[in-house]
Symmetry: C2
Subunit: 311 residues, 2 copies
């Protein structure tokens, strides 16, 4: 008899949903809108209803459903309690209990970045490696750490908040978190733009970066074209990110780093710059960690959520 | 019927051994010399013989022995294979297999610092907390990270090498590991002496530190006496260590930090300086981590080794 599980990735705009086999085959995926009105009071109902509808439409026997895994944009502790998810309007929500009551199924929940790491470890760039780190280079820097095949959750669900490790004593502008010198101030899409702006302001050298609006893509294209000033920016970016990942390796000794998020679309050249500085700063025992790119893109969350309930 | 287990902590000079109940009562402890000659070829035989002798002397039924846990000064992977233990003369040693063959008992092995963390989490300063970090401030800085009640071992057994996280870009002297600016260059017993020497060389201020040979104890005594220059050294020391532990918290989100090793004999004043800077640098989600002092001292290793085989 076939068995099924659901993987749910709750975002601020849409809830991504997937129907999986226990082997990790994605049978169907679809989205529903995230209704953030009334402090997100309808989100759990909407998820339960969408699951119920899919079960009916696909003629699935409820006894064949193993359960539902959910990723949420906020800290989630080991008991599936969400402490705060600003983008959903949630304060403290006992997601595991509430969704279980509304579906009748077993539920597990985790932070979306940690859950995405579990997805990349199960079926993506980190497949086959029990000790891996997913580094998501988007507007900010997020991450998830997998230790011995399990998410590193921490006591309050804030494990893997790698974007906020302190890297720069000289920083004068605050990070979104209120501290100064966090990794995501340099190693994100917005971070590389900041580095480029500072470099342009200090230098009088000619550069294609002086034409048009600056974006991470624009900068990486210039790096690939060999623009000298852009290459200097890449070195700085690589030094910050490589140093940050070296520190993570000294603490967690992973086998592999998987780089995802918008900035990772730069491709292998990103790895070249990061790995150079990673090797400079890391303790020798972790020197040979593998660097690779994420492969599941926006589906990492539903894959990881499904894996969460299967574990 | 009573059950027993053995906890073994292999050091470069002596092997510490403990006979425990499964509840963690230490019934007997004793030491044997570590015979490092012939690349440490006799160490495993000596441990097996000491266990055998204790079983006979204490009239223990071999069927009542749950097993033997061992901590070793070097990286040990999840399969109990030691990769190198310089102080023992060992290269790659399949400790779990060899000691099992020589004793007939189930064996588990881990890195000594990680195993000590497990001991402090089981019966010491971190008792009752599933997510904790032991920071051992001795000649260098060692550590062990406990995630969800288990040691963070990493792929090659180098998890928790926190002494070598990079903290200082301006350092000109190399660390023992070959890198520049590692945490243990500042936050260890030798590190605080370096900080004091540099401070004395730069300053012409009067200080008791100018009299007699410098040691960590001498410096902490001067800090407690309110010596102004020594207090400046304490601030620097606290900033390095607090910053390093904040980074660890961003990654692992522990509930508690347990400070051990010789420098921790300074007592609660050490926590005052470290916690001040920890709160400055840490991501808000980990701001309320508890700081406490280790309690098991040299017995942490045998306790943790016993716990290892019980898990």
């Amino acid at each position: 008899m076939s068995k099924y599980c659901f993987g749910v990735d709750v975002g601020g705009t849409t809830v991504k949903m997937g129907l999986f086999t226990p082997d990790g085959d994605l049978l169907e995926k679809w989205e529903i809108p995230t209704r953030t009105e009334e402090q997100g009071a309808h989100i759990i109902d909407d998820i339960a209803e969408a699951i119920d509808r899919k079960i009916k439409d696909a003629h699935i026997d409820r006894d064949d459903v193993i359960g539902v895994g959910v990723g949420v944009p906020g800290p989630v502790n080991k008991d599936g309690i969400v402490f705060q998810a600003v983008n959903l309007g949630w304060g403290v929500v006992d997601l595991r209990k509430e969704l279980h009551e509304k579906t009748g199924f077993r539920v597990k929940a985790g932070n979306d970045a940690n859950v995405a790491a579990l997805g990349e470890q199960w079926k993506g760039g980190g497949k086959g490696y029990d000790d891996m780190v997913l580094v998501t280079l988007g507007t900010g820097v997020g991450g998830g750490i997998i230790v011995n095949g399990k998410m590193l959750v921490g006591v309050g669900g804030a494990g893997g908040e790698i974007g906020h490790i302190h890297l720069e004593d000289e920083e004068t502008e605050p990070c979104g978190c209120g501290n100064y010198g966090c990794m995501e101030q340099y190693a994100s899409a917005t971070g590389i733009v900041r580095l480029a702006k500072r470099k342009l302001a200090k230098s009088s050298a000619d550069s294609v970066l002086r034409n048009g609006p600056l974006s991470a893509k624009h900068i990486w294209d210039a790096i690939k074209d060999g623009d000298a000033l852009a290459v200097e920016v890449a070195e700085e970016f690589g030094e910050y990110l490589g140093k940050g990942l070296a520190i993570i390796a000294d603490i967690c000794n992973p086998k592999i780093f998987v780089l995802g998020g918008g900035v990772s679309k730069a491709g292998d050249i990103l790895i070249t710059y990061v790995q150079k500085y990673y090797k400079k700063y890391v303790f020798h025992a972790s020197r040979d960690a593998i660097f690779t790119l994420a492969v599941l893109e926006n589906d990492a969350g539903i894959y990881g959520a499904a894996k969460l309930i299967l574990d």
